[in-house]
């Protein structure tokens, strides 16, 4: 397997085609095996380890079945308790969950949309992303609004690629209000 795949990059657009053409001349010099050195495990060892892994997994699967029911009940009970506490404390819905307290530092715009993108318009997202807001700032603003979100650490490349949780309009308005009242805009 070698690098240097020539493909229908022109279908992306003209600029990309030119860029790929130039880049491919570099990539074509490099064998895939040197870019990502291959496994050193022999086929025989690989199959032996795989068989052992499968057998171990099947053993765990049997054990898992015994506990599945009780685990599901425990999880459901836990979720109910969390929702109850949140509703009683903040008066808002189950999408409001604790933020990651360890989160700090600059957030890439695309990741930022994952964090506060819930229910916001694309324009609002772009404004927020352009502001280079730090995660700490977000956490503070959200905390001031008594809003705590699950931080989705899934890396996202598209502004529209954020998970939409169902924050109600009051909660969204509270978040926006807090953000707008700070220096972030």
């Amino acid at each position: 397997m070698t690098a240097g795949h020539t493909c229908d990059e022109a279908e992306l657009n003209g600029e990309a085609g030119v860029e790929f053409s130039a880049l491919s001349s570099v990539l074509a010099q490099v064998d895939l095996a040197t870019v990502f050195p291959g496994t050193v495990v022999s086929d025989t060892d690989f199959l032996v380890k795989l068989r052992a892994g499968i057998e171990a997994s099947q053993g765990q699967y049997s054990a898992r079945n015994v506990f599945t029911s009780s685990r599901v009940f425990a999880q459901l009970a836990g979720v109910c308790i969390v929702v109850f506490v949140l509703v009683m404390r903040f008066g808002i819905g189950p999408a409001v969950i604790d933020a990651d307290p360890t989160l700090s530092g600059y957030v890439e715009p695309e990741l930022f949309t994952d964090i506060v993108g819930y229910g916001l318009t694309d324009t609002e997202l772009e404004e927020l992303a352009d502001a280079n807001i730090t995660a700490d700032s977000i956490a503070i603003a959200l905390g001031m609004a008594n809003i705590h979100l699950v931080v989705d650490l899934t890396e996202s490349d598209e502004a529209t690629d954020y998970e939409i949780l169902e924050l109600d309009d009051v909660a969204i308005a509270a978040v926006m209000s807090e953000l707008e009242s700070t220096e972030f805009f």
């Binding site: 397997m1 690098a3 795949h5 493909c7 990059e9 279908e11 992306l12 657009n13 990309a16 860029e19 790929f20 130039a22 880049l23 001349s25 570099v26 990539l27 010099q29 490099v30 064998d31 895939l32 040197t34 870019v35 990502f36 050195p37 291959g38 496994t39 495990v41 086929d43 690989f46 199959l47 380890k49 795989l50 892994g53 499968i54 997994s57 099947q58 699967y61 990651d100 360890t102 989160l103 700090s104 530092g105 695309e110 650490l153 899934t154 890396e155 996202s156 490349d157 598209e158 690629d161």
Partner: protein, 191 residues
Amino acid sequence: MDEQLMRGEETDSELIRRFQAGEQQAFNLLALRHRRAVFVTIVGLTGDADEAEDLTQETFIKAFEALGAFRGESGFYTWLYRIAVNLSLNRLRKRKVRSFFGLEGAAAALPADQTADAPLELGELSARLRAAIQKLPVKQRTVFILRHFQELPHAEIAEIMDRDVGTIKANYFQAVRKLRLWLAPYVKGDE
């Protein structure tokens, strides 16, 4: 090992049928046939050969467990890559939780003093290309590896990643643009 199995004359579909008929040895050939491509994909995503070994094994364990119910609605390797990519992304996610900016370490591996003045040895070029690929955002990295190194069509990558084809093309475009930027000294030399 069964020599007939190892001749590689049978298609993936035939081997899957044999496996589903109870011949578990047929899985061995499927695993051997695809293990290197799966490994390369995973190591490209994770940047860690040891981790890739583990995840490759985990990929095939999951495939073994689920192959009985495989209906062939997508190609076997598409299905297999989907398992591998999902496992890799999960691992990267866990890594990121442990160290929020963990990927910056990989980015820092790209030599800062790169210049176009001196021709690079292939080994050095490989290292810089590897570092540049690792520096890509994970989705762009995934698309680039599947597209460029595994030569999968956009439609199959979209199926593997559960995305629209347009999104895949956009990711690929961004990946190529960034790689060109980061590898500019070497690209310029060829223009």
